[in-house]
Symmetry: C2
């Protein structure tokens, strides 16, 4: 699809499946000048936004394409929505509740925009679920310093790999409603759900199923081509659906993003490929379903492999990787290793990760980069390497870990 849109001459001469050619022609007919080289509207090409809206209707509820904005990856949309809460005229900074651990986009953007980061801890003991008491504690505690306005939920979780249950999502929605919090649902890993019994529920769906007054809450939902079975992160495609947003605010939102002109047309096209894939009976359907299934099945196997491998190592515990692309195992570091790290002014998990890297070439990210409960130590690792490489890596990891524990015990 990308090739056909980028190169209409080749679309005619190349041997592309007819449904792909038709799809490309439809998109090009809605691009300025009939090609991908012109600016689109700042919110994105209209036909692509309509296809996104059709995709979102899988939730069983209406979706107006006017509420859909395309962007260069979901991260651009996330940053655009966070910007809506910038205020410099109040004594207290607007507070944004984010999970701990969380990936650095939120902490970096919150800091950049002069907002206040309000961390709530995920419960490692219950596979990184969200406990209402912890949300309440975090919120109440934040009010001393911040005017807390936003609740960010990442589902499936990055770096923690959990998939929220429907019950858990209801609890979160009720909590947000009680405190008039704007909900940001980061759902970029929605296609990456592996664990038996786990299922992805969008916040939009649950809010609507709960009925009034919850279905009148303001909600921003994000999705991306960078994850899932595509993983086309270098092409920069993403969207946000703004649901129940105040019309006056929405006008300002659109005005604000117009200063950036538009997101890349080819990134928008890849988003169309994600939300509007080949249908059964179409020439390219078989290949699509085959590739999609193979990628997701392989990720599922690796999710199991990672959990089992880390779980079998003494001194390491690892939750089930229910979804997303990561594991966030906990390391029980010996006191001598902690002391050694502190003596050279390093976080203990950073020290561990650097030793691992130097001894084995295996690179993991220290948990301190994502946040963790005090006195606990973690690292983030990914399930993305191919199975054979992963097995080799795990062997090297086990050897290193045994030696490390022996040295510092």
């Amino acid at each position: 699809l990308l090739t056909c849109v980028a190169n209409p001459v080749m679309m005619k001469t190349g041997n592309f499946p007819s449904d792909v050619v038709e799809h490309a022609k439809l998109i090009l007919a809605h691009c300025g000048g009939g090609n991908c080289g012109a600016y689109s509207q700042s919110v994105g090409v209209e036909i692509i936004r309509k296809h996104v809206a059709e995709f979102i209707k899988r939730d069983g509820f209406p979706c107006d394409y006017e509420n859909v904005t395309l962007s260069g990856g979901a991260s651009e949309s996330i940053r655009n929505v966070l910007k809506l809460f910038i205020r410099h005229d109040k004594e207290k900074k607007p507070g944004v509740m984010v999970p701990i651990p969380q990936y650095p986009l939120y902490s970096a953007s919150i800091e950049e925009f002069g907002l206040g980061q309000v961390g709530y801890f995920l419960e490692e003991e219950t596979n990184w679920s969200l406990a209402e008491e912890e949300l309440e504690r975090s919120y109440q505690n934040s009010l001393k310093e911040f005017d807390t306005k936003v609740l960010v939920v990442i589902n499936p979780g990055n770096p923690t790999g959990q998939v929220l249950s429907r019950d858990n999502i209801e609890t979160i929605i009720k909590f947000a409603h009680k405190h008039h919090l704007f909900l940001m649902a980061d759902e970029v890993y929605q296609d990456n759900v592996y664990a038996p019994g786990s299922k992805f529920y969008s916040f939009k769906k649950v809010i609507n199923e709960m009925g009034a007054p919850y279905n009148q809450m303001e909600l921003a939902s994000f999705h991306s081509v960078s994850k899932g079975f595509m993983g086309e992160c270098g092409l920069r495609g993403g969207y946000v659906e703004l649901f129940n947003i105040d019309p006056e605010v929405f006008v300002l939102f659109k005005k604000m993003i117009s200063a950036k002109l538009c997101s890349t047309i080819l990134g928008q096209v890849i988003m169309d490929a994600l939300v509007n894939p080949p249908k059964p009976g179409e020439p390219s359907y078989d290949q699509w379903i085959k590739e999609r299934t193979a990628v997701l099945q392989s990720l599922k196997e690796r999710a199991t492999l990672v959990k089992e491998a880390y779980g079998s190592i003494e001194g390491i515990s690892c939750n089930e990787v229910q979804g997303a692309m990561y594991a966030f195992p906990q390391i029980k570091l010996p006191q001598r290793a902690i002391d050694k790290a502190r003596s050279i002014n390093q976080e203990p998990d950073f020290f561990y990760a650097m030793q691992l890297l130097e001894a084995t070439g295996v690179c993991v990210v220290p948990g301190s980069g994502f946040g963790q409960k005090k006195g606990t130590y973690h690292f983030r690792t990914t399930i993305l390497p191919q199975t054979e490489m992963m097995k080799d890596m795990l062997t090297r990891f086990k050897d290193f870990h045994a030696k490390f524990m022996k040295e510092y015990s």
Copy 2:
């Protein structure tokens, strides 16, 4: 090149010139996983940054590729550089000097980032040149309200179409040096120079030729694939070179942009096509030089056509379109037209543009959107329509204008 990078299978089977295939292979060898689907470094793909640095050396001075950052169009880089000046801890806002008229990216971003817009007027009488006295007046006047730190120059000009002379650039550099201003040189129209006697000089080149102390000034230079002979604005490719920037500030700059991950790889690839085109003797050179020459020649003809056409209409004056893609003619509106506009709460040039649109279907942008001296009225028009369409448009325009003047005189 884009097709080959986006679709390596097609690169092998398609009938592409060998130099294009080699170029694509070189880029892919420097992309993560050997394809365009992975993130690059936040600053951009290294080999592309090296090609940009080679391109910049046309100025006759060194360029370190480490100083080059790729972005989604030049506008993203312009916004990133402006962000460096955000401060909320001082009583006075940091001031940014921008030309009046100027296109809305600057005014919108300055407002969004809580900076202060300091307008300096371009001299319409001397073909939109920059007068030192006006820069000085604007700067001194701004200090009451702002802590003015930055001078933006757009050369060739948008919407005014002027190309600064080398002398004029020297004057501007001396002025910026005197007041310790950070220079932002928006040079995205550098390939669009049409007028006999006009030539593009980059600020980087002039600063270096002037020698010490000017060659130690901090300077940000911007370029884009959206203009020139390519006009591939929908693909989002741009760069900034940060010259003489404080190393500590540069570290923070790179940290800040890393929250956005990276700009689209395919936009970066198009930038490579711009800065690293086919060389004489290579298979695709002839086609490239032919297309490039034809586009630029045609734009040059239309630049002349527009100036002559508007200049021949009574009540309209139009400067020479020395460069860029726009004309910004002045309309001498009759007092009755001005009164009529005010009576319905419209800017007079907005009223004129709306009347024109409704009567003829011709769309121009009112000058009030770009800023203009009080009591003068302009509109921005572009030289982009094909010659035949332009001639038809000019006929309709003349008819309308004559009727309008008659009605309101």
